[in-house]
Symmetry: C2
Subunit: 440 residues, 2 copies
């Protein structure tokens, strides 16, 4: 029998109505045996997430203030779900326990984790699945660091004997039972760890969008959804700011080639985006899956005759940055020239002293700075035998009269990175999208 | 009055007939006041250069052999010039002096320098110019290193008072009069130093080709001559193997924006190639001036999720190479990936241990090697506002079905560097040349 681990996000579990949708999704496919639950999210744009309310309770309690009104709002959220679905659940007892902890020994992580805990318990009752508390199987060490190998063992031990289970996302505990949370969005990671532990056939990530978009919808009018994305392409999307999946959620499943399917709880008929290592047989895809970018970049250009002959020149240059703990985004060396792309906000506070040091250490023939640049990534693992897609992209930019400062595609052929003036960012994104739109 | 420093290469001064051509060139423009002479070169393909003969004399003398037959061939070369032009010159005395030195205290550099010395003396007599011995003004320190500031002073001191002068190329001396030679082709450097010292308006470099070609004539059928080349573009051409001018010859004149004009002694009617910092007013040029490349390249590809977030990753990678004194040609970092282009011959002897070290030190997610690549440089300082030329080049390669592994253009916009399979090198050069041919 196939096993799907299905994680539902905050908006998917925000109300009794949403719980019903989730219930229909779960029962419609018997492979969906392991469910990961987030805390109730926003029901409407001005709504507050339960985790934010819980964190406010903690702040109020720590400052000796009155957290009761806020805790009552938390209670109300769960009561709406419980009553709406007519669930039998000792909610008063659970809320009393949180109240006691807030009064006696408030712990930020423990309080924050209660949103997922309660929601998962309610969902388990609703679905008639076994509740699994990640306290038992998402293993942190004493310093609050996730212990991955131990988590894999413990998760497998907890989940494999169960036919159907709901596990709470976002948190775990150390050996003494002290609760630690993952970073925000960490339920994605819990789901990924669960999928890896049970060697699931599929990891479904149910959220409020029908997958990854090929471009930023604030810039491009109704961009298409990407059907397949490779793990590597997804990393690029995350780097460029796409936030549909937690970055750390990819690694555990990619180790076992388990596909991740991004789905929309409100539109279960949409196929969503599937993240895979390789395309399924018979599927073909256009080499470009999307376009994204970052503003606020600066380019440092160092020229020195015979750079290529001096093995250490670029290394010395990068050592200067390393010693200053100044990260750079990209580095390109040509003949006699080194180009460094950096975030302008990181460069700004140390610009003068950095340039001084470069001049003193490397004595370059030319040292230049271009600010207000955007880096655009044309994302997609390109086939070996064609560069056609790249040509089209550069052609689109050229036709639009957008000057290109840097061009960079490494041997991995994953992305074509181009630097362009910041003020033409939106225009460039649209120009590139229009060339790939038809092929998506 | 304008001053041109004119350097004549070995083939330009290989015989009496060539001396006559040089004489006509020099008198045709009174600005040609300072002439730099090379040693007699080849008169026909199987001929030997006088410098090579002299070096053989030195080898023979050092090994206690009989150098007389070889020295007689040197003598014959100068005698042909002297007699052909009916010059009065104490050649026997000069040859006797070389002989004595070979017998008593043979010095490689001294013997090697006699080719230029004698040729410059003969040319001075022929042109009725003052002979300047670079022993006096091309200043080496005791370790045989050229002392540039001192040379500039001494050269200016030697040349400025003279109306017309011939200076021998290729050598100089230290304070004690010990002769040192520059590297082969060093007369180009002597000419450049002289031009800088007298702040010449033009540095002419007369040779046996009518300038720089836009592509390798062994690959492309009759490629065009490039009219203007910037100093930076020339450096790229040299890096890629064009050997028309000594690399070190650019810096002294480029400091003073003195143009270098490559001319053909056998075809003085050709304008040749002019090397400048900026185009003269009114001149326009196509952004690409030529295409060149190198075979025998390998590409190392290192991938690790979050490379971009770890400031030191690339620096550590380059340190590994630096500590091994292993030079790399180009480096490109994208998102999560570092691509290093290296010479295969340098990589071969240490491949296994290098890959071991990279694995141990960086623990990459992926470490790949692609061998048998060529790097092609599409050379030309591109204008800020168009990338059209780059598009055409990539289009040409794509149309020819040539796979492109890496693409790299830094902020200097000097070259577009593309990596392609070695076995398609000639085809790629031709494909690119055909797109730029019309525009040259």
């Amino acid at each position: 029998m196939k096993t799907t681990v299905a994680k539902f996000g905050g908006t998917s579990l925000a109300s009794a109505e949403q719980f019903r949708k989730v219930g229909r999704i779960v029962v419609s496919d018997p492979a969906r045996r392991i469910i990961v639950a987030s805390a109730p999210g926003k029901r409407f744009p001005e709504d507050e997430k339960v985790t934010d309310l819980l964190l406010r309770c903690y702040e109020e309690a720590s400052n000796g203030g009155d957290f009761e009104p806020t805790l009552r709002r938390v209670d109300a959220r769960y009561r709406e779900i419980m009553n709406g679905l007519q669930l039998k659940f000792p909610l008063d007892e659970e809320i009393a326990r949180i109240r006691a902890r807030l009064q006696n020994s408030p712990s930020r992580d423990f309080v924050a984790s209660r949103g997922e805990y309660l929601n998962a318990r309610l969902l388990a009752v609703y679905l008639n699945f076994t509740f699994v508390d990640p306290e038992w199987c998402v293993c942190f060490d004493g310093e609050g660091r996730l212990d991955l190998p131990m988590t894999r063992r413990a998760m497998a031990a907890a989940l494999r004997p169960l036919e159907r289970a709901v596990i709470a996302g976002f948190y775990g505990a150390d050996m003494s039972g002290r609760v630690f949370t993952l970073s925000r969005g960490g339920s994605d990671v819990t789901g990924s760890l669960a999928a890896a532990a049970v060697q699931a056939d599929l990891y479904e990530n149910w959220t409020d969008v029908s997958g990854l978009l090929a471009a930023d919808p604030r810039i491009v009018d109704r961009p298409k959804t990407v059907k397949y994305v490779s793990y590597r392409e997804l990393r690029t999307l995350s780097y460029m700011g796409a936030s549909v999946l937690h970055t750390d959620a990819v690694l555990p499943v990619s180790d076992f080639d388990i596909p991740i399917n991004i789905r929309n709880t409100d539109r279960p008929q949409d196929a969503g985006t599937t993240i895979v290592r390789r395309l399924p047989k018979g599927e073909t895809k256009y080499p470009i899956i999307g376009v994204a970018g970052r503003k606020g970049m600066s380019v440092i250009q160092v020229e020195k005759v015979m750079v290529s002959d001096e093995a250490g020149f670029t290394a010395v240059m990068l050592d200067i940055l390393k010693n200053r703990r100044l990260p750079f985004e990209h580095c390109l060396t040509g003949i006699d020239t080194v180009t460094l792309v950096m975030r302008s906000d990181l460069l700004a506070p140390c610009k003068a002293s950095l340039f001084d040091e470069i001049r003193r250490t490397l004595n370059p023939d030319y040292l230049g700075l271009t600010e207000n640049l955007s880096m655009i990534a044309v994302i997609g693992e390109k086939g070996t035998d064609s560069c056609d897609a790249n040509v089209k992209v550069l052609q689109a930019l050229t036709a639009a009269g957008i000057p290109i400062s840097t061009i960079n595609q490494g041997a991995g052929k994953l992305n074509l990175l181009v630097g362009i003036p910041e003020e033409r960012y939106e225009e460039a994104i649209r120009a590139i999208y229009s060339t790939i739109d038809e092929s998506l």
